[in-house]
């Protein structure tokens, strides 16, 4: 940020003003009365933990979601965006985290999709398209990207620039970049920063989302901090402080300078049920080591996408290639390449996406529960309906699964009860290690409490439990010990009373936490 000089109109009149934006999903308030002003030639960063409301705010600006309350103004004119198209027409372009490119089409076709230059109002004009696409890329300082290459062949960083060029082809005044740097290397980030500087100099208002405080400090003029759906603070140009930002992000319970101490690992007398040493998978996670004692609930925390979920997937045999390191379950080394092998070794896996991974919505509750334990209900070669319903009845009662009868399809149950059925599947046979991968996603508070009770019960009966959640508040409620992941590595470990929400968050924003100390 050597060049602090901004566009003449900066900090005079905002291009876009949002006031009192509120959005509820069911009973959950995702965004509470948020205000935001975007000025031309300014980079406005949004900072906050997962679930703080950043995505909701961005989705409202982009026309993906409509606010329940509040108002958007462009200049002095109130506007509403019923669709993303309407937002785009009003000059607001968004580059989402998941790129929306067509891998088989070339760069020019991607950039101008839906806006293809035509000849005679009918025929595509590929030459004009290439010219236009090339000038858009040049404008970004990315003239080196081969305009005729299929996008699928480009490295991610270049594909992202193509996406930005595509957004700019609509000539927006406001450009929203949702975590554009999270998948980039340091050199690639440099290039993106340069692009943002250029756009800023052209008078665009830029909304920039990132978890990296260092980046924000460099690139942002104005910073809004969100926590639990509320905007809790705003830094005007030049006033940003990492420590203040962190304190705002983490809330009242956080006191500056108080660092969670790195707990020494408590080693039980008993042998570990799970021992993971130096587990690495290129582009996913790196040298992850931990042990899990019987009776222990170990949390894998961190911001979303820091590799913790991939570690669980790898343990369960969902990565067939490239896994390095050692995994031992109950003292026996395994190399799981299929879920079946992980199951045979003693792992039980409750996935987050029960609609597509955990359960069979069209099959009966009963069939869902016994699918992994058919040997238990077999008499000779045939399944015994009596043995099956006995087993199912026991588990349905134990987990308090609410269904009219175990013969109804799983899909007819509520989300929480569906998740219980998925858990019940693994209770028929006691596993030494239970892996819960964001099990409470989309379940209500009552079902969540029930699920927690089951997890505690499993631990109490001597199994080890690995627990991952996107809701950070669940770790202190449940875990004996927590590993905090950051960029594919274990950034820190917390145990016992040190497992607190602020401590986890501080380790999640590791760099900043050290700074604040």
């Amino acid at each position: 940020m050597e060049d602090r000089e901004t566009y003449p109109a900066a900090s005079e009149r905002p291009l876009l003003t949002a006031t009192g934006l509120t959005k509820r999903f069911g009973g959950v308030v995702a965004l509470k009365s948020a205000d935001l002003s975007l000025f031309p030639g300014e980079v406005h960063a949004l900072l906050g933990a997962n679930g703080a409301g950043k995505s909701t705010l961005v989705k409202i600006l982009a026309g993906v979601e409509q606010p329940d309350e509040g108002e958007l103004r462009i200049g002095d004119r109130p506007v509403t965006f019923a669709t993303p198209r309407a937002a785009l027409a009003a000059g607001i372009a968004t580059v989402h985290q998941e790129l929306s490119l067509f891998p088989n089409l070339d760069v020019a076709e991607n950039i101008l999709i839906g806006r293809e230059p035509r000849r005679g109002g009918l025929w595509l004009d590929p030459r004009a398209a290439r010219r236009e696409a090339a000038s858009l890329l040049e404008n970004l300082g990315a003239a080196d990207i081969d305009i005729e290459a299929p996008v699928g062949e480009l490295p991610l960083a270049q594909a992202q620039l193509v996406e930005i060029a595509k957004a700019l082809s609509a000539e927006p005044n406001v450009l929203i970049l949702d975590e554009p740097t999270s998948a980039l290397s340091i050199a690639e980030v440099e290039r993106l920063v340069a692009v943002v500087e250029r756009l800023k100099a052209q008078g665009k208002a830029i909304v920039f989302i990132s978890h990296r405080l260092g980046e924000i400090e460099r690139i942002a003029d104005r910073v809004s901090i969100l926590r639990s759906g509320e905007k809790v603070g705003e830094f005007t140009p030049g006033s940003f402080s990492r420590a203040r930002a962190l304190a705002l992000m983490l809330g009242e319970s956080w006191q500056e300078g108080k660092q969670p101490e790195r707990a020494t690992r408590v080693r039980d007398a008993g042998p570990a049920v799970l021992d993971v040493q130096g587990l690495s998978l290129a582009r996913h996670f790196d040298s992850v080591s931990f042990t899990l004692q019987p009776g222990e609930v170990l949390g894998l925390a961190g911001l979303e996408g820091q590799g913790q979920k991939d570690v669980l997937f790898a343990l369960f045999g969902l990565f067939r290639r490239g896994l390095e390191g050692r995994i031992a379950v109950a003292g026996k080394t395994i190399r799981p390449r299929r879920p079946r092998q992980a199951i045979a070794a003693g792992l039980a896996f409750i996935p987050d996406d029960r609609k597509s991974l955990g359960g069979f919505l069209g099959l009966s509750v009963s069939a869902n529960i016994v699918i992994g334990a058919l040997d238990l209900v077999r008499r000779g070669p045939l399944l015994s309906p009596a043995a099956e319903s006995a087993l199912v009845d026991t588990l349905v009662r134990r987990l308090d699964i609410r269904c009219a009868s175990p013969t109804v399809p799983l899909g007819s149950l509520s989300g929480g009860n569906q998740q219980k059925v998925v858990v019940a599947k693994w209770l028929a046979q006691r596993a030494p290690v239970y892996v819960f991968c964001d099990p409470t996603r989309g379940v209500d508070a009552g079902a969540r409490a029930g699920l927690f009770a089951v997890i505690r019960e499993l631990a109490a009966s001597g199994s080890g439990v690995l627990f991952y959640s996107t809701d950070i508040s669940e770790f202190p409620a449940l875990c004996d010990r927590v590993l905090v992941f950051r960029e594919g590595r274990v950034a820190g470990e917390l145990a016992g009373t040190a497992v607190t929400e602020p401590a986890i968050l501080a380790l999640s924003f590791h760099e900043a936490a050290r700074e604040a100390a």
Partner: protein, 329 residues
């Protein structure tokens, strides 16, 4: 909820015998049999002939061929796939089986050929559909084409025989206690199929895969093994029907399996099995096979020309199929 979940003593057993265990689909099966009744009523309205045992006996034998192929097709469709390699599996099995058996003067060779072709074609289909991930619609049709080629090469080199194993003839034309032997064979394999789907772990895996393959993988189901078993079963059924058909017409000839591509699939669909997989069963397919055969017979009795018959038959099948596809959402 007046009654707490999980209490014992609910109605549970009776519906299972229909194979309707996995979702409230007893009605679906009922609908299939209602359609069968309506079509049979139509047949009787067209001709009193359909009241005679002699006519119906003939229809039962015809339905056997379709019904046996429909066993494998039901399994294949339940796991969300389809097997279109049936016609030339039938023909190749019939030609190779009868010829080799005649050449060596040994009946059992024909059965060995059935098993060899069944296993080989089944594994080839598994290779393409499961390992290479080619859509089964494309792959099995390609395999069908290749089998046709093999049959042509073979018949160019060897003269076809009219000498059909006596056992094949007995299976297709025999009579046991007044019942056609073919129908008894069908009843036997139908019972096995229904048992397999309802009471074997294999059957559970079939439904699980068709319902949601990733969830089946995470539940530890051996996906490859189940796919292989299903495609082998389907090819075995077709190869066996080839042998029976050669016994039925006392000869094996090129193209004899051509009428067995769509009718068995139609039988499965009319039987209420969802084409996208995971829901259905063989009980309905039985009604479907009988319905298809009776429809064909009715149109023949009506004395419509071959071309018009095909148009009407096709139209009725599509109407029934769309009826079921709508019901299945």
């Amino acid at each position: 909820m007046s009654q707490p979940a999980g209490t014992a003593g609910r109605e549970r057993a009776p519906r299972f015998s229909l194979g309707a265990r996995f979702s409230p689909r007893g009605q679906q099966v009922l609908l299939s049999y209602l359609i069968l009744l309506v079509v049979y009523g139509g047949c009787i309205a067209v001709s009193r002939e359909f009241l005679s045992w002699g006519t119906m006996r003939l229809q039962l034998v015809q339905a056997t061929f379709i019904g046996l192929v429909a066993i494998g097709e039901t399994f294949a469709i339940l796991i969300g796939q389809i097997d279109l390699s049936v016609p030339w599996t039938i023909t190749l099995s019939a030609i190779l089986g009868t010829n080799l058996a005649a050449l060596h003067g040994q009946q059992w060779i024909a059965f060995a050929v059935v098993i060899a072709i069944g296993v080989a074609v089944g594994l080839l289909n598994t290779l393409g559909v499961f390992i290479l991930r080619v859509h089964s619609l494309i792959w099995t049709l390609g395999v069908n084409l290749m089998l046709q080629g093999v049959a042509l090469i073979y018949t160019n080199a060897a003269a076809p025989t009219t000498h059909v194993p006596a056992l094949a003839r007995f299976l297709a034309l025999g009579n046991v206690g007044g019942m056609p032997m073919a129908f008894l064979v069908w009843a036997f394999f139908a019972a096995l199929a229904i048992l397999a789907l309802g009471r074997l772990p294999f059957g559970r895996y079939v439904y699980a895969i068709g319902n949601r393959q990733p969830a089946a993988l995470l539940s530890g189901v051996r996906l490859g093994r189940v796919h292989a078993l299903v495609f082998i079963l389907s090819a075995l059924g077709a190869a066996f029907v080839g042998l029976m058909l050669s016994g039925y017409s006392s000869q094996a000839y090129l193209g004899m399996g051509n009428d067995y591509l769509l009718p068995p699939i139609a039988a499965v669909v009319i039987g209420g099995t969802r084409l996208s997989g995971g829901d259905g069963g063989y009980v309905g397919s039985i009604a479907g096979a009988l319905t298809v055969v009776l429809l064909q017979a009715m149109l023949i009795t009506l004395n419509v020309s071959e071309g018009a018959r095909q148009v009407i038959f096709g139209a009725i099948l599509l109407a029934l199929a769309s009826l079921f596809l709508k019901r299945g959402r």
